[in-house]
C-alpha cells in the first residue's frame, strides 16, 4: 500500500469564487486543473497525507506584521484571511507535531506584500508567510527561521519585512531583476545595517534549467542553511519558473521542482505564484506533494517535458556559477560587510518609492532605524501614498532592548498629529499593537 514516509499535511484552498479580475492570472480557474490532478491521483487517500481545513487568521495576526492603510480590513478580502489562515494552519500543525511537514496550497499569494500595505502589488495584499511565521514565533518556542523563496519573481515583500531581522534568513532565487518584475533582488541587497547578510539574493539568468536551479540549491542554499541552523525552514513555493509559464522566461520542470523539494527539506511550503495553470501546476504540485511526503515521484512528467530541448546553455551555466560564488562570498564575509554597513551613525535612514502595480498606487517611504549595539534596533517608517494617506509606523522588534523600546514609544507618542493620518505601533516585545488616528 502507498504510504507517506513523512507525515505530510496539506491545506488545499483553491478559492474557486475569488479573482482579482475575471481575466487576471490570479483568477478562479488557477488551481482548477491542479485540483483535478490531485483528486485523480488520489493524493488525499494516501496513508500519511492529511488534508486540513484552513483556519481564518485574525486581525491581530496581520497587525503583528503589517501597517495596513487605512486598516487591515480595507486592504484584505475574505480570501486573504483564508489563504494566510491556511499557511497558519500548516505551521501550527507542524509545530504541534500533528504532521512532520506541510504544504499550504492556497491562493491568493503574498510574497510581494511589504511591511506597509496601501494596496495590492504583484497580486499580493498581505504577506502570508510572514503572518504565519510571526504567529508561530508568538505561539511556539521558535526563534530562527529560514525562508527560501523559489518563486520566479523576487520576493521583495518578504525581503522588506525581514530586512532588519537577523533571526530570519531570507534567501530568494529568482529570474534576474533586470528582466522581470519587480526589478529588484540583486546580490548587493543583503539586509539592513543591523541584519546584514541574513538577506541573500540569487538572481538567475533567463533560460535557467533544472541543472542551474539544483546546482544553486546544492551549492549555495544548502551550505548557507547548514550554517544558519534555523529552527524551521519555510519554502515560498512559487511555480512560475516552469518552462510553460506565460509571464516568466525560465526552463524549470515538475521533476526539477520535486527534486528541489527533496533537497530543501522545508518544514513548511506555501504556494506563491505560478500561472501555467494547465501545463505546469497540476504536475508541479503533485511532484511537490509527493516529494514532501517522501513518495517516489519519478513518473510525474508534464506532457510537454523535453529535457533535451531544455538543456542549459553553457554561458547560462557559467553565469549561474559566478552568481553563486558572489552570494557565498557575501555570506562568508557577512560580519565584515555588516560592520561596514553599521557605520558610525546612531540612526540609519533610507528613502524609497514603492509602486503597487496591481492597484496602481505610488508610495513614498522614509525609514529610520536605530543602529543599536544591543538589539536589532527600533524602526520607524513615514509612508505616504498618492491616494492621500500619510502614516507613521513604529516597530519595536521582538528582542528589543529597553532603550529601543523607549525610543519606539517616544516616536509613537510624539508623532505630529497635524502631519499623520494614522500613527501605528507594533510592540513585539509584548505582542501589542497601538494606533492613533489624530485627524
Amino acid at each position: 500500500m502507498l504510504r507517506a514516509k513523512n507525515k505530510t499535511g496539506l491545506v488545499f484552498f483553491p478559492a474557486f469564487d475569488w479573482a482579482i479580475s475575471p481575466t487576471h492570472p490570479e483568477r478562479e480557474e488557477r488551481l482548477l486543473y491542479t485540483q483535478d490532478q490531485v483528486f485523480e491521483e488520489g493524493l488525499f487517500d494516501i496513508e500519511g497525507i492529511l488534508e486540513l481545513k484552513p483556519d481564518l487568521i485574525e486581525i491581530k495576526d496581520v497587525q503583528r506584521v503589517h501597517f495596513c492603510v487605512p486598516d487591515a480590513r480595507s486592504v484584505m478580502t475574505e480570501s486573504h484571511f483564508i489563504s494566510a489562515g491556511g499557511a497558519k494552519t500548516i505551521g501550527r500543525a507542524v509545530l504541534e507535531k500533528e504532521i512532520e511537514r506541510g504544504f499550504a496550497l492556497v491562493r491568493p499569494p503574498g510574497h510581494h506584500a511589504m511591511r506597509v500595505v496601501h494596496g495590492a502589488r504583484g497580486f499580493c495584499n498581505v504577506n502570508i508567510e510572514a503572518i504565519m511565521i510571526e504567529y508561530l514565533r508568538q505561539a511556539f518556542d521558535i526563534n530562527r527561521v529560514a525562508i527560501v523563496d523559489t518563486d520566479c519573481h523576487h520576493g521583495d515583500g518578504t525581503q522588506d519585512i525581514y530586512w532588519h531581522d537577523p533571526d530570519t534568513l531570507f534567501i530568494s532565487i529568482h529570474q534576474d531583476g533586470r528582466t522581470l518584475y519587480p526589478g529588484s533582488g540583486f546580490t548587493t541587497e543583503l539586509g539592513g545595517p543591523t541584519a546584514t547578510g541574513t538577506t541573500l539574493n540569487i538572481p538567475l539568468p533567463p533560460k535557467t534549467s533544472e541543472e542551474g536551479f539544483l546546482y544553486t540549491i546544492k551549492n549555495v542554499v544548502l551550505p548557507v542553511l547548514d550554517e544558519f541552523k534555523p529552527d524551521i525552514i519555510v519554502n515560498s513555493a512559487g511555480q512560475d519558473n516552469h518552462f510553460s509559464d506565460p509571464i516568466t522566461n525560465m526552463n524549470f520542470s515538475a521533476q526539477g521542482y520535486a527534486e528541489l523539494t527533496t533537497l530543501l527539506k522545508a518544514d513548511i511550503a506555501v504556494l506563491e505564484g505560478g500561472y501555467s495553470i494547465e501545463g505546469a501546476l497540476p504536475y508541479v504540485n503533485v511532484g511537490i506533494i509527493l516529494a514532501m511526503a517522501g513518495i517516489d515521484y519519478g513518473k510525474v512528467r508534464e506532457p510537454a517535458y523535453d529535457p533535451e530541448g531544455m538543456r542549459q546553455r553553457r554561458d547560462v551555466t557559467e553565469w549561474i556559477k559566478k552568481t553563486g560564488e558572489i552570494c557565498l562570498s557575501n555570506w562568508r564575509q557577512r560580519e565584515r560587510i555588516s560592520a561596514h554597513a553599521r557605520g558610525t551613525n546612531k540612526f540609519h535612514e533610507r528613502n524609497r518609492n514603492i509602486f503597487y502595480d496591481t492597484d496602481n498606487i505610488v508610495e513614498t517611504q522614509h525609514e529610520t532605524i536605530h543602529v543599536c549595539p544591543d538589539c536589532s534596533g527600533v524602526l520607524k517608517i513615514d509612508s505616504s501614498s498618492d491616494r492621500g494617506y500619510r502614516i507613521l509606523g513604529v516597530t519595536i522588534p521582538r528582542k528589543a532592548c529597553k532603550y529601543c523600546k523607549e525610543i519606539g514609544y517616544k516616536w509613537y507618542d510624539s508623532a505630529d498629529e497635524t502631519v499623520f493620518d494614522i500613527v501605528l505601533l507594533q510592540d513585539r516585545t509584548e505582542d501589542k499593537f497601538l494606533e492613533r488616528k489624530p485627524k
Binding site: 475569488w18 480557474e29 485523480e40 513518473k299
Partner: protein, 561 residues
Amino acid sequence: MIIGLDVGGTHADVVLLGSNGPVRALKVPTDPSNLFDTVLTGLEKITEGFEPERISRIVLSTTLTTNAIIQKKFSRAGMIVASGPGIDPEFFRTNSQYYPVSGSIDHRGREIDPIDPTEIEGIVTKLKKQEVRYVGVVCKFSVRNPKHELRINKILEDAFEKVFLGHQISGNLNFPRRIATTFFNASVYPIHKKFFEAVKKSLEKKGLTVPIHILKADGGTMSFESSIDFPGQTILSGPAASVMGSIAFAPENEETLVLDIGGTTTDMAILIHQVPLLNPSGIQLGNFKTLIRSLETHSIGLGGDSAVRLENGKLKVGPDRLGHAMAFGGPVPTPTDALCALGIMEIGDREKSIKGIDPIARKLGTSIEDAATRIFDLTCKKILREARKMINRINSKPVYTVHELLEGYQVKPERILVLGGPAPYFAKHLEKVSDYKVSVVPGWETANAMGTALARTTCEVTLFADTEQGIATAPEENYSERINKSFSKEDAVRKAYALLEKKALEKGADPDDLELEVLEEMQFNMVRGFYTAGRNIRIRAQVKPGLIHGFLPVAEWFPSD
C-alpha cells in the same frame, strides 16, 4: 405487498409490508456458509400463506459480496491500467494479473499518448493462458474521456466473458479508487450473478415472478438486472438499511443522529431533514478505498454483546464480542448483562448476569448495582463520544470556496433516533447523559428490513462541459455531444437531469419517485491570453435517497402512545 430482507451477521430480518403497514415481520438465523439458504428461508417464511400474486416487489440487502471481498473468496480477475504521468501505477496493484500499459489522457480529457494495441494483444494472450475470464480496464482521467478504455475494450471483448470499464462506475475523479472498484466488480461478478440468478429461479418456481431489487450502501436500490454490471455496489448495505428504516421517524426540519445499536457494533449516520448524508468520496472496505456511493456512516466495535473487562483497574467495553451476553449463555459479561443485572431488561437469566458482573464489582470495590450502572453508563458515553467524533469529522471536511468556508453548512443534530435490539433500553440513558432528545424507532427490531423494503432507486450523474473544446460529456452514461460556445450552466443542469432520469428508470426506479437534485454545480471561465476562451462546467446530480411512494406514511403505522 412488498418484501424487505436484510441479512445481518447473526440473523436476517424480513418484513412483509402492505400499503397500510407491516403484515408480518420475522427473523431467521444467518448461516454465513450458506447465505442462499438464509435468504430463501426468510422469503419462504414471510410469504407463507400468501398468494404469490399479491407480492409486487422484493428488496434484498445481503452480505454476499462484502464477505467475498473480506475473505478474498472471489474469482481471478485481470486488470489493465493506463496511468500516464503521475504516481507509479505499481502502487495500486490489485493482484498478480495486473498490467500497467501505455496511453495517457490529461485532466481536460485530451489524448497525450495513444494506447498500443499490440501491447494489449500481448496481455490478452497472457490472461487467456492464466484462465482469466473477467477483466477490468481503467485509465487515468477516463471520466473526462473514455476513449482509451473503449479502445482496449474493443480488443478484449470477444476474448473474455465480461469486461468492466472504469469510467462506467462513477463520474468522480480518483484513479486509485477507480482501479479498486473496477477490480471489485470484476472479482465478485460471478458470485453475485450466480447467487441472484439462483434466488430468482427458486422464487419463480414458487410462482414469485416479481422484480428483485438490491440495496446499496447509499440507501438506494437497483434492479437485479442492472446490478450485474456493478456488483461491487452491493457491498456494505447493512447500515443503509437501518438508516432508511428510521427516516420516516425523523423530524422534517431537523438534523438527526441515527444509532443502530447491535450486538457487536453500533452504526451511526446523519439525517438532514429526513435525507441521509452521503459520503463524498466513496466507501472504504478493509484497506480498499472505492468510488462506491455510500451514506456517511461510522461504525464502532461497541454493542450489547461487547466484552466487558477491567484493564489496569479501568473498566473497558469492547471492541470485541466473544459471544452472547451471559444472560443468554455467553462466556463474558456485557452491557446487556449490566441491563439484566439492573433489572432494566427483563428477559434473559438475571442470575447469570449478576454472577458475571460480580468479580468486576469486587475488584472495583463496589456493589454489583454500581458496577452494572458504571458499565452501562460507560457504554452510552462511549457511543456519544464516537458520535461527536463523526460529527466533527464531517464538519472539518475541507471546502474550496470562500463562501462555503465562511458560511458553510455545519451539521449540529439535536435529536437521536435509536434502533437495533437493545434500543429501548439505551434511549433513556442516552438522553440522560447528553443534550440530545432521544427516541426509539418504532418497530426498532426490524426497522432495517422495513427500510430495505421501502428504499427507492437512486443513482448519480456527472456531467462535464468544456465550451473551448466544444464538448459536453458524461462518460459514465455513454453520453458525449458537440456543444457550441453559448452552452450554459443551465443547459448543463438540464442535460444532467435528462440523463439522470433515464438512468434511474433503467435501474428500476418508479417514475413517481424521481426526486432529482443538483449536488454540485461549478462554472469557470477559461482564460487564455487575456481573453475568455470558454467555460468549464461541472455538474453532479442525484436521485435523492428516500422512500418509495404508495404506502401509508410509515410514521402512521405506529400510533404513538
